[in-house]
Amino acid sequence: MTVNRRDFIRILGAGAALGLSGLPYIASANDLLPKRNRRIVVIGGGFGGTIAAKYARMADPSIEVVLIDRDRSHFACPFSNLHFIGKRDIGENEFGYSKMASTWGVKTLFGEVTAIDGATKKVVTEDGFVTYDRLILSPGIDFRFDEIEGYDAKATPLLMPHAWKAGEQTRLLKKQLDAMSNGGTVIIAIPLSPYRCPPGPYERACMIASYLKQFKPRSKLLVLDSNEQIASKPRLFSAAWDEHYKGIIEYRAAHKVTKVDTKAMSVDTGVEEIKGNVINVIPAQKAGLIAGGAGVLGEDKKWCPVNPITYESTKVPGIHVIGDAASVAPMPKSANAANSQGKMCAYNVVQLLNGKEPMDPTTVNVCYSYITPDQAVTISAVYKIGADGKLTDNKTTKTTANIDPYITRLEAKYGVGWMTAILDEMTS
């Protein structure tokens, strides 16, 4: 350790006090963790960043790793849809970072990152700054609220929850469903691809429909999809809706919500205004805000183009981007993809810091989607770098064959195993 433990806590304490008092930081005055060694800074303690921090330490414990997040704990999004049917409480999805420090020697800093300067290799937080040799950015998503007329970034989610960042928003949507009377209308508005978790909105439709079928059978679920068709596992979701939720789910493809009215509790598709009792508008998405500040957004101004071998930004050298924020098609924006990318990125960042060439990465994705409380379908793939230097799935992308009860029940059991394991990997 380059900083003794007591000093580190003192620095953290001072920083936190400064933050609480609301004083503006003086960037140059407060080096939060003077760098005396080779250092990787990781921003974002979700599925990508936490794993990148842990495995960078596994790859080379002589390199210092600092993990920065605004919060001391994080709510995982996978399985959050099971909260709506009471199958899994969202509280079970919360995880912290204590083992990152005690088991792996990752230094953790908590505070809002306000700026990143790729030229001087400096990360500025509300409390001061830290410097890095290489930065791994795993900022997740933010929303393109401005694309929906009448949408207020602060007020609207409290009335029409997106529940697309898990935690309080998940609880709010569940409360609204519980408060709704039998015979009400629920609306889910799905954004254009790409967005976080391609099958997520359709799984949510299944879980909410299952809740309605069980507790409020006279109610309806209207799914307004901006996309031309179901964006993930279309055959399986269509089959599940026919089999289990006929008369409850009404699905309309190519119906993009362009306007919301929280007073009238209505959404507008440009063709018609539709009222709902519970309205779940999932806005279109982009890389987490800090990516814009770091200058790593691509020409689309939404996502971050990267080299698929090292995940180094094609915009700013020394900054690597992983997880939902990165453009690494054909990989989806999923938790398992972020986990896999975090590992490959960490190992290659360590290679580069050791003056070596990067290594050939292999990444895996698995997404579990529940179609009933005890049945699930999956999509999985293995990704490699093709001869042309681009990422390819070599036609390994495959789904559960059909919604046969034996296999989907088995998938649902293994899904719980997957969730247990992937959370454990970040907290052990």
Binding site: Y55, G295, I309, S340, K343, P358, D360, T396, E411
Partner: protein, 197 residues
């Protein structure tokens, strides 16, 4: 100021990326190639359960054969077989060997082990299983994976699949498992889950 600085860098880095295929990309180390397994099977193959087996410390030949059976579909699965189609034989060999060098870590939260059932399970084990699954199922061989110390959920599921004919097994085992009742399979699961390493 920040943006102006990075814009100059853009040209440089795009040129760099365009030249990338000319870079020597080294083959992944066995450790790097194996990392993706850990998302489901635990760090270094020590499973956090409840349904995935610990794969660290298994016999490399047994592991290679098992992964190949998943790949071909000979052993039916949900995602395992699909994922294995993404790996070549040399890669599967490297992964199997790397995993065999990791410690086998017994499941840590076996609070649901019933000692009476485990004892009954031991009698069944001694009568039918121990010839191949030696040292109370803790030993490994080219033909059998480590059972002792696996998660109860995993063991129960495997026995269910054997009994339902959903999981192929050697003829020798088929003849024996036919003689073991469902209840005794459950007892066996308790026995193996109770094993410490």
């Amino acid at each position: 100021m920040l943006i102006a600085k990075s814009r100059r860098v853009v040209i440089f880095s795009v040129a760099m990326v365009a030249a990338l295929p000319a870079w020597a990309v080294l083959p992944a180390t066995p450790e790097m190639l194996t990392l993706t397994c850990y998302a489901c099977h635990g760090t270094r193959g020590a499973s956090a359960g409840p349904l995935q087996p610990s794969i660290g410390g298994q016999n490399p030949k047994y592991m290679f054969d098992t992964l190949k059976r998943y790949q071909s579909g000979e052993r039916p699965s949900t995602v395992m077989g699909r994922i294995m189609t993404g790996y070549s034989d040399p890669e599967i060999k490297v992964i199997s060997e790397h995993l065999s060098k990791q410690p086998f870590v017994a499941a840590t939260h076996q609070r649901d082990v019933n000692p009476t059932k485990a004892e009954k399970g031991k009698a069944i084990h001694d009568q039918y299983c121990k010839k191949c699954h030696q040292d109370n199922g803790r030993d490994y061989s080219e033909g059998a994976g480590i059972l002792g110390g696996q998660w109860m959920g995993f063991l129960k599921l495997v026995f269910e699949e054997y009994k339902a004919g959903k999981r192929p097994m050697p003829k020798e085992m088929l003849e024996r498992i036919d003689k073991v009742s469902d209840e005794d399979c459950d007892n066996l699961a308790h026995f193996y889950a109770s094993q410490k390493h």
